[in-house]
């Protein structure tokens, strides 16, 4: 099953062994053996894989340039089970589950996250934490803010090394 959604620059493709769409809620359930969500704009860039996943619509309300209320529906998503996230920007995550929350444009996860985060200056921070939140930039998709909670350990190392 393949689901393709296009949301401006952040269009992405979902691939899964099985899928179900609940008509009323428009919630999509994705089944294994492997679920994959990746950037559908040209080459595969950001990629997240796991054993199962869900995507559900969220109505966003905002104002356009003329101050007129504008409503749109976007999908939040979550992937569960040995989740691996590899970003084109070089950061990488391994976690039991990773969720994307479109309202505040954040990736987040609870429980045993391993991460690698390049500083953008030739080094990377690697570590583990109980929880992380990465706030993304709406136009570039790049990380704006990265928060790690719990007893975390960071080791600076060369950016090329995998987590």
């Amino acid at each position: 099953m393949t689901v393709v959604t296009s949301e401006g620059r952040l269009s992405y493709r979902i691939r899964a062994g099985a899928g179900a769409l609940e008509e009323e809620s428009r919630r999509i359930e994705l089944g294994g053996p492997e679920v994959e969500i990746y950037d559908a704009a040209g080459e595969v860039k950001d990629r997240i894989t796991g054993r199962e996943g869900s995507a559900w619509p969220v109505e966003l309300v905002g104002l356009d340039a003329d101050g007129v209320e504008k409503r749109s529906v976007r999908y939040d998503w979550a992937v569960r089970g040995d989740v691996r996230f590899a970003s084109s920007q070089g950061y990488a995550l391994e976690a039991p589950q990773i969720q994307f929350n479109r309202a505040d444009y954040a990736l987040w996860s609870d429980g045993g996250v391993r991460f690698r985060l390049p500083t953008g200056r030739g080094l990377a921070l690697e570590g583990t934490a109980e929880r992380f939140i990465a706030q993304l930039d709406g136009s570039t998709g790049g990380i704006k803010r990265w928060e790690v909670f719990g007893e975390a350990r960071l080791v600076s190392s060369k950016a090329e090394q995998a987590p």
């Binding site: 390049p118 500083t119 200056r121 136009s139 803010r145 007893e151 080791v155």
Partner: protein, 206 residues
Amino acid sequence: MKGLRWAIALALTVAVAAAQEPAPEEGAGSDPLADIFGEEMTMKAGRMQMDFDPETGEMTVMQIEGAVDIVSQNMNLACDKLEIDMVKQIMIATGKLVDFEREDVKGRCGRLEYEIETKKTHFTGVPRPRVQQREKSGRITETVADRITMIQNKNKNNILWDGNAELRVLPSPSAPKAESAEKKPAERIDNGSVGRLRSPAVDTGR
């Protein structure tokens, strides 16, 4: 009298060394984290937050809170809160007790400010800054003052102090007791004398 002469000689030595402020060490890496900590660093904390420039992908500010404990190639640091501003090139550590260790220098204070570019470390706050420096001879010089500035150079650290300064010379832990290990009482430095000993051109880093 002998002790007083010795204390004046020591103060003169430190003042002269301080007047000859060294140029910042060259060859520092392009990553401020590497400039501060070296390429190996382990950090434990309750919460860490890193802000990035979304355009360039470069980290701009790093904030760390809650029992911060850093062990690194260049320094060890423990504090309650740490902020590293990569743009302003400054690191500020604060807390009930900021504990700092770098090679032969140990420091304690309530607030530590490290200027990445100039490699100056300012110890201020409560508890009163206290810096111990082990010299090559093994002798330990302890400085207590309202504000202490350490200027880091390749082979030595120069230490400047301001406000209610006290200077103690502690015996080397390994020195035999019969010779110089006899514990000397702390000698209070007369601030007026210290001021006269200092060159007016001395940069106190303030």
